[in-house]
């Protein structure tokens, strides 16, 4: 189970796009009547809208005819569902065994030193989110991090610091 997290973010103004339910309704319709649809629907809706905010969860509930609290039961159980906005870059620091014995804890420290965020947190400018994950399957290159979909391996803490700075300065977007 994911660590206990405050489920609902502080009240936020929603943009018109965030309240445009076209995509949400289409996804729900695709699964109409299907068994075991809750998780795939939430996954797809989250992909489309970024994260699962309150109004969105309520909309999914209405569509699937499931109460919001049942949905939140599922959402809070799984680490891959997010009820708060996330940064432009999601830094996944592998805290799997192989990476742990090769010092990945220090890399999380570097993230904290640079951006002031701990596991599960996003910086105020919403550039970085830190997620500590278990084995991402590249143990041969331990310690390993992923920034969005890109994997970086064989890192020292200082090399990781440089990579984070490159992302922060936009150098990695090229």
């Amino acid at each position: 189970m994911a660590e206990v997290k405050a489920v609902v973010e502080e009240v936020q103004e929603r943009t018109p796009e965030e309240l445009d339910w076209t995509k949400c309704d289409a996804i729900c319709a695709q699964y109409a009547g299907a068994k075991g649809a809750t998780i795939p629907v939430l996954q797809k809706v989250q992909d489309a809208y970024g994260y699962l905010y309150k109004e969105l969860v309520e909309r999914v509930g209405e569509n699937l005819n499931i109460s919001s609290h049942t949905l939140y039961g599922v959402i809070t159980f799984y680490a891959q569902f997010y009820t708060k906005p996330r940064g432009k870059y999601v830094i996944r620091v592998c805290r799997g065994t192989a990476c742990h014995v090769k010092g990945s804890g220090r890399i999380s420290e570097v993230v904290f030193e640079e951006f002031g965020i701990r596991n599960g947190e996003t910086d105020p400018d919403k550039i970085f989110t830190l997620e500590e994950v278990s084995c991402i399957g590249a143990c041969g290159m331990a310690p390993v991090i992923m920034v969005n979909d890109k994997t970086h391996g064989n890192l020292t803490p200082e090399e990781s610091r440089k990579i984070f700075k490159d992302y922060a300065s936009g150098k990695m977007d090229e």
């Binding site: 189970m1 994911a2 660590e3 068994k35 075991g36 649809a37 809750t38 998780i39 795939p40 939430l42 996954q43 039961g73 599922v74 159980f77 799984y78 680490a79 891959q80 569902f81 805290r95 799997g96 065994t97 192989a98 742990h100 014995v101 090769k102 010092g103 220090r106 420290e109 994950v133 278990s134 084995c135 991402i136 399957g137 590249a138 143990c139 041969g140 290159m141 331990a142 390993v144 979909d149 890109k150 994997t151 970086h152 391996g153 064989n154 020292t156 803490p157 200082e158």
Partner: protein, 596 residues
């Protein structure tokens, strides 16, 4: 490894997770553009027809990007750490000129990694293109299915029973026997589920199989479905494995189009539909009843048994769950026969097992070895021993449910029963080698942090007990351990083991119990002497250079990120404690263990 013959020049590029991360795509692109530029894409002339092909993980990921150059009539030549910049020279000298570029070619230590391995299940990983059904078929793919369809379902079950195959998901339950339970359950609709939730935090066997050879898993599932009588199936894959998900999705579409899946598999009248389900990030969903709950769209909490899934599983229908590697063994067994298979391994553990070898060994990676190989052979021959001239301390087997073994156990045979007798377990196949700089209390704390976080919370002993144990370990590693803590841990551990519902809680205390059993003195040093003998727990390290051991090399000064170390040529190093942030870089990098 069986031979792979080519009709034309082929260059295989590792595009497993590490291959891609190390720049595999750029190497692939460089090869293609180089072939183009030199007119080496002429399909009419064999010598001038070169193909770059992606393959899956071959296990030695630390050397990626790995490529193999196959020239017809010659054995393959492997290159390590290939970059796009190296490609023109390799094409020029090797492919056009016929001279191997020896300075980049793999050396003895590469081959030693494979010497003691027996790669049957992984044989095609690293050789076939995982995105190509045609390539799989060209290498004998789906032949086992064709053979199966000519047998009766009883014959298939008998064959699997005779092979001695036991589940590779951790428990080691005999596969053929498991199938009969589901087969004998009344009902028309039965489900077959492939457990690809691989959550052990240091293991990636299942991921490599799926990424490297997804059709082998589908073929194995078809064989099982035919034997049990399942019409529908699911592959439940961890969401953290995007590449595996992508490849299995494509494989499912291709297999269905070609008639290997569907209402009438290869015209035999046998019906099997297979879908992919993505997990959502919860370790406990690897437990089969929790996995079933998750497919149903619920919170993935384990359910009490009976009823067993074989009687009432997914949507109350009889269901059979097996692990990825278990399924991937089936084509091998059917093609080569049960007798051949049962010849490999020990009396009660047959065949091979795939392990993820990591930690303090020279060659980390994914290996497939015959059951019965010793721990020593695994670490010192396949893995090449401990790097940096350090001493072997322990090996942790079976991940968060497993235990550790010491020097005294190096000759233990790796099979289900010998490992349990020695206090560890096969588990899913994670092998973490630890050297003298690894603290065993820290290792226990690491695994418990994981299980505590992943406990689903249903059982109080597991939910609260693991937290209480973790609090104790946290205070021991912080230098605040109290007299009686070791005994408290032991008592809690035993209570949690007997009163938890599922395997997570039942096995969570194992890493603690075995580290206490074999390294009690290390716990005592933390508690009573405020010392971490391995110098891993920052609160218990003094961070002083011991002049008697310091060889004045100055390496510590170079690695210190905050300039806390003063050193001049010919002088002892000195640490300014006011500046030191306790990062341990100096300790890890000092070649003479001179910092206490």
């Amino acid at each position: 490894m069986s031979e792979y013959k080519v009709e034309q020049i082929e260059v295989h590029v590792c595009m497993g997770t590490a291959g891609v991360a190390s720049g595999g795509e750029a190497v692939m692109a460089a090869l293609n553009s180089e072939f183009e530029k030199r007119g080496l894409t002429n399909t009419d002339v064999k010598e001038r027809n070169c193909k770059a092909k992606q393959t899956g993980c071959r296990g030695l990921c630390a050397r990626d990007v790995l490529i193999d150059v196959y020239v017809p009539g010659k054995g393959p030549v492997t290159y390590e750490h290939v970059t796009a910049e190296m490609v023109p020279s390799i094409v020029e000298e090797h492919i056009v000129g016929g001279e191997v570029v020896t300075k980049w070619a793999a050396k003895k230590d590469y081959f030693e990694f494979y010497d003691k391995q027996k790669r049957y299940v992984l044989n095609d990983c690293g050789k076939v293109d995982p995105d190509s059904l045609e390539d799989y078929i060209a290498h004998g793919g789906y032949d086992a299915l064709k053979k199966t369809l000519k047998m009766t379902s009883e014959e298939v079950i008998d064959e699997v029973k005779k092979s001695g195959l036991r589940g590779r998901g951790g428990g080691g339950f005999p596969t053929g026997l498991k199938w009969t339970f589901c087969r004998n359950s009344p009902g028309d609709l039965k489900y077959l589920i492939c457990n690809a939730d691989e959550g052990d935090p240091g293991a990636f066997m299942d991921r490599s199989i799926i990424e490297g050879n997804p059709h082998a898993v589908i073929e194995g599932m078809l064989i099982a479905a035919y034997a049990i009588g399942c019409k529908e199936g699911y592959i439940y894959c961890r969401a953290e494995y995007p590449l595996a998900i992508k490849r299995v999705k494509k494989a499912l579409v291709d297999a269905e189009k070609a008639g290997y899946l569907g209402d009438n598999v290869l015209g035999s009248g046998f019906e099997f539909h297979l879908k992919l389900k993505e997990g959502a990030g919860a370790f406990v969903c690897g437990e089969e009843t929790a996995l079933i709950a998750s497919i149903e769209g619920e919170r993935g909490m384990p359910r009490s048994r009976p009823p067993f899934p074989a009687v009432k599983g997914l949507w109350q229908k009889p269901s059979n769950v097996n692990n990825v590697e278990t399924f991937a063994n089936l084509p091998v067994i059917i093609l080569n026969g049960a007798d051949w298979y049962a010849n490999i391994g020990t009396e009660k553990s047959k065949g091979t097992k795939i392990f993820a070898l990591s930690g303090k060994v020279k060659s980390t990676g994914l290996i497939e070895v015959p059951m019965g190989i010793t721990v020593r052979e695994l670490i010192f021959e396949v893995g090449g021993g401990i790097p940096k001239k350090r001493k072997f301390k322990a090996v942790q087997l079976g991940g968060p449910s497993g235990g550790c073994l010491t020097e005294a156990h190096l000759d233990t045979k790796i099979d289900y029963d010998s490992l349990i007798a020695a206090g560890a377990m096969m588990g899913s196949g994670g092998v973490v080698v630890l050297d003298e700089t690894n603290c065993m209390v820290n290792v226990a704390q690491f695994f418990l942090t994981f299980t505590q976080r992943e406990s689903c919370g249903k059982c109080i002993p597991c939910r609260v007990g693991t937290k209480t144990m973790l609090d104790i370990l946290d205070r021991i590693t912080a230098g605040k351990g109290k007299e009686g803590d070791i005994e408290r841990l032991e008592a809690l551990a035993n209570d949690i083991k007997i009163s938890s519902l599922c395997g997570l809680g039942q096995t969570a205390p194992n890493p603690i119990l075995t580290t206490i059993r074999y390294f009690r003195d290390e716990y005592e040093a933390h508690i009573y002497k405020q010392k971490c003998p391995a110098r891993e727990c920052p609160e218990l390290i003094e961070f002083v250079v011991v002049d008697e051991r310091c060889k004045k090399c100055g390496i510590c000064k170079k690695v210190c990120p905050v300039d806390a170390i003063t050193w001049e040529k010919g002088q002892y190093a000195y640490i300014d404690k006011a500046k030191c942030v306790k990062c341990r870089e100096c300790i890890v990098n000092c070649p003479f263990n001179s910092i206490d």
